[in-house]
Each structure stands twice: as C-alpha cells, then as structure tokens.
Symmetry: C2
Subunit: 207 residues, 2 copies
C-alpha cells in the first residue's frame, strides 16, 4: 500500500507534487490521520510551503479530491469504434477487474476513504454528485447506442445506468473493506448473466 501511482510518478509542478505527497500520506495514515505534518513528511519541500500554495488544510484536501476524481475519470476508457455491447464490456472490465496490483489497491482504498467523507461534508457530496453524473451520462449514452444498434433491448437507459453505477461502486468499496477480490469476480460473473438475460437483445432468453 502507498506505492507511487503511475499517473503522478514524476510531478512537474509543485502543486502536483503536493497532490502526490497528500496521496501517499492518505494511503499510509488514512483520512482520519491525514495531517499537514504527515503530508509534509511525504513532500520533498518544507511543510510551510503547503500554505503558500493553499490557503489552509481544507482547501488543500478539496483540491486533492478534485484531483483524484479527475484521475479516476480518466481511467475509464472511451472507445468509439466498437459496438455498444463491446464498449460496455470494456468499461466493466476496467471497473471490475478480477484482481488489483498493490498500486491499484492503494488508489482504490484512497478513493473509498475520500468518498466516505461525502457522507457528512456537503462540498465533498457536490463533487461526487458531479463526478457520478458524468459517469452516469457516459453509461447512458452507451446503453442508448446499444438500443439504437439493436444489440440491447428497449430498456430504460437511465435505470440500467444507475443499476450498473451502483454495482461498480459497491464492488469497489467491498473489495477493499473486507469483501476481497472474490466478491468482485463473482459480481462480475453475475453481471454477465444480467447483461445476457436482461439487456442483450437477440433470440429471446437465449440459453
């Protein structure tokens, strides 16, 4: 846990470097133990410099949340040349991989911890609502495409997208909070059953 994720392995700006340090401190100590001191320890420059770039801890952490959400967003592929069913499959493969390497594990844990803050912090909630909305729209458009292409049934794209979003959220959380990888592999397998039976058009109820 706490490995350098590839996306910021060599930060170019000081602010990026601070985001990097914050990430490492979060992985090591958890959100509740995330202090300016500990961020400073992971930071190659001095602790006081943090206050030169951010007004206070609050602003730093909110920036960090945005930073992480952007990173997460950019990890979901946006293929366009494939069919809708293949695009959906590709998304689910990225969102529900059978295992995670240490790096991905740390990132996922960080995301789960950050997300939980939204339960009592409205600004975090707003950030997540925005982020979830973008992801939702992405899913909706893939499903709509599938319906137009005739590979998906005439389902309610919004409803299906919420369903899949909930599922991927749950899998992400579960994996790093006691569920283990097997909870995700089983979920992934059953999602396929769902897609085949509920979503996919074709010879109705094809066994």
């Amino acid at each position: 846990m706490g490995e350098t994720p590839p996306f910021l392995s060599d930060p170019e700006t000081t602010r990026e470097s601070i985001m990097h340090a914050t990430y490492l401190a979060l992985c090591e100590h958890g959100y509740a133990g995330l202090t300016i001191q500990r961020i400073g320890e992971q930071f190659e420059k001095s602790k006081s410099l943090l206050y030169h770039h951010y007004d206070d801890k609050d602003e730093l952490l909110l920036s960090f949340l945005q930073f992480m959400l952007e990173e997460h967003q950019s990890s979901v592929p946006e293929t366009v040349d494939d069919g809708a069913d293949e695009r959906l499959d590709a998304m689910l493969d990225v969102l529900l991989p059978p295992t995670l390497d240490e790096e991905e594990q740390g990132f996922t844990a960080a995301m789960v911890e950050l997300r939980a803050q939204a339960a009592h912090d409205q600004r975090y909630r707003e950030q997540y609502a925005e982020h979830a909305h973008a992801f939702h729209e992405h899913l909706v458009s893939v499903i709509e495409d599938g319906i137009e292409e005739g590979v998906f049934r005439d389902v309610d794209p919004d409803q299906v997208a919420q369903f899949l979003g909930t599922l991927t959220n749950g899998a992400m959380t579960r994996r790093v909070t006691g569920g283990g990888d097997e909870s995700v592999t089983a979920t992934r397998a059953e999602v396929n059953a769902y897609i085949d039976r509920v979503l996919r058009a074709g010879t109705e109820g094809g066994e």
Copy 2:
C-alpha cells in the same frame, strides 16, 4: 442529522450510553472529527469516565464498530413462513428503501463512514468480513431455498448472493455520498428486472 436512533433511545448501561454518545458525535462531526472531547460532550457523564470503561480511544471505537454492526444486522428481517421469493423481496425492501427518514439517513451515513475505515485498518476489515459473511450466508440460504422450492432457477447461490450484496452495499454508499434517493429507487426497480429475468423460474422470459 444526528437524531437519536430508536435502538438506543434510552441506554440501560453506561457502556450503552457511551455507544450512544459516540454515535451522536460521529453523526455531528464525522469519523475524522471524532474526538474523545466530542464524545464526552454528547455523554451525560464526564469525559474521563470513558477511560474507566475503555482502555483507550482505539478500543472504544472498535467496540463501537461491533456495536453498530450488530445493530445493522438485527435490522434485516428473518421471516421463515413465507416463500423464498417473498423473503428475498422483503430483504431488498429493507435494504433498498425508496427514502430514508432523518434517523435512518444518519445511521446510514455513520455506517458508510465507519466502513471506509476498513480500507486502511485491518481490524476494521476483519470485523466487516465477518459481518459480510453472515449476511452473505443468509442470502445464500434464501436463494438455495428458492431453488429447492422451484421458484428460482438453478443458479449459483454464492454468485448471486455476492452480486446482491455488492448491489446493496453500493446503494447504501451511493445514497449518502452524492447519489441521492433516486439512484436507489432506480437500482431497486432494475433489481426487480434482474430477479424476474435471471432468477425467477416459471414461464421462461415472462414479459
């Protein structure tokens, strides 16, 4: 937020009272802001008394986690006289209600925040793994019953239970972290589609 939940409205022992105070402090300040001082503020007796009943903050919070998990467990119904499909439906109605009152909202938020700690604290992870296992077994037995009764297809009970567990986890998290109630109502509706098409036996692919 921070209403007294019915399950500990009038604590009988001092330790129960401390759990109550901890719950209120968690609702008000979040896990990261959960200090002994603030627990003491919600507690009718003195702050130092906390150390008479618990070795340190760590032990208090771990006890609190167990306490909350037990409460959560007891909120899921265990009907026996109904058919398996009705029992499953009843469980999902409890786990994915269309809305939450303020009390339930606070409880859910607290559970989500606590759970996230498991991402970097192994003891929390162990507690959750145990809790999740019990819930999983409960689901499995309902599904197995359904298969025996002939109301469910011959699915893999373990896989389906993981799927539904992931789903309910995700819904719980999502609702209080920016998804809102509509994400859950949509999910609930689509779970019905899943149950009808994938799980339920009978006139195959019944529209």
